[in-house]
Subunit: 224 residues, 2 copies
DNA sequence: GTCTATATCGGGATAGAC
DNA sequence: GTCTATCCCGATATAGAC
């Protein structure tokens, strides 16, 4: 997007930092590009020179977050042994990382529309999403989880979706310190692991076929 | 808000109709109040006289939809005997009713934020939501479904949530005639009914307690 | 009470001067 | 690369016609 001229890189960083500051204080919607520019000590036009739109600042935020979290996520996968430890670690790390910007996140989660560039399901965010799903794939990989062949390949994507649901709940969780989310996380994680454990039980056979077909439908061509 | 003077009622209706027309053509975000007013043959001020904001037009759309659908939903409940028939009927009716405005709906489903007035989870839409959930309560009422006491009371709200999830998928389903949604509906409905049937099986006991606690947490005070 | 006309403001985005 | 000026739009407000 822009070459790393030290000078320009510094200006860009200053604008980005100012944006995060303003977003945190005011919330996304109430923040204005004018104020961001002022806070960064540049003119409005300069802000638009570096970031095509207010949304572009958010994309930068996403990308930075992913880059910053990656080492911690790798460490968690390496250290954790059980699927439970790993999932708890991965998802917990996200909560921790995004906590300071929870207010900002809430403005963003508004974008469920897969056609909106900022949506976690959009084409624009595909690379971020795929990299993220890959972490879940690694978490499952040598965990000994066995599912019907029609379902197994979708597990990483389903776990990612589960995480997104938790994040969505978290973002709008007004309980002190978001305890409700953490309780929800705890309970659902146990239910999930129990579900995986009993998935091969004969009683549940009638669920396999429709579940497999369903996943094929949902992940048919486009990919929420 | 405004008394039913025939004259004023007609103007209001004209503006409302124009808004829906413009929304359908342009999409919600791209529609302007100026164009809606022009299309309705009134001045901008008149549009704002009847509708406080662009969002108010959407609220009116929601309310009108509910009022228009109510008779059909009652009929479906009266005619249908099994839970399956009823759920299929209720949810199918929604799809049918909203089909002409699917593009508009997609712009609206962007509002997941419970704090946003237009969100299906907001305080502002509570009465619509409650009335809607009541239909699901009636669908369950004499259907013979038996769940653990810690879960049973939440069933109508969960079914409503299930419906909202389907609608969300539908709204962004780009497959021809939204076949994918209808396949998804079919499969998940069967899985759901099977799940309800086997819910009391001893094997699944370990799921009751966390599930009950979880629902208590989620529906604790605020009510998504 | 119903509506027009118009002015104003804040804010996202762009064009062109420098 | 950066700034100034400008446009467009949602929203609000107001004065006044009928």
């Amino acid at each position: 997007m822009s070459q790393a001229t030290p000078k320009s890189e510094a200006t860009r960083a200053r604008i980005f930092a100012a944006a995060l500051r303003v977003f945190r204080e005011r919330g996304f919607h109430e923040s204005t590009m004018r104020e961001i520019a002022t806070q960064a000590g540049v003119a409005l036009g300069a802000a638009y020179y570096y970031f095509d739109s207010k949304d572009a600042l958010v994309m930068a935020f996403y990308e930075e977050a992913q880059a910053q979290m990656a080492p911690a996520l790798h460490r968690i996968l390496a250290e954790g042994r059980s699927l439970e430890q790993r999932l708890r670690g991965l998802i917990g790390q996200k909560f921790e990382h995004f906590a300071p910007n929870r207010a900002l996140m809430s403005a963003l989660s508004a974008h469920i529309d897969p056609n909106h560039p900022l949506s976690p399901f959009s084409a624009r965010t595909a690379s971020i999403r795929d990299a993220d799903i890959a972490f879940f794939a690694r978490a499952v990989a040598d965990s000994g989880v066995r599912l019907p062949a029609s379902i197994q390949p979708y597990l990483p994507r389903l776990l990612w979706l589960y995480q997104m649901g938790l994040m969505l709940f978290w973002v709008y969780d007004s309980s002190p310190k978001q305890v409700r989310t953490h309780q929800l996380f705890d309970k659902t994680l146990h239910m999930l692991l129990f579900g995986l454990k009993i998935a091969s039980v004969p009683l549940l056979r009638p669920l396999y076929r429709p579940a497999g077909e369903l996943l094929k439908i949902v992940y048919g061509e486009s990919a929420p």
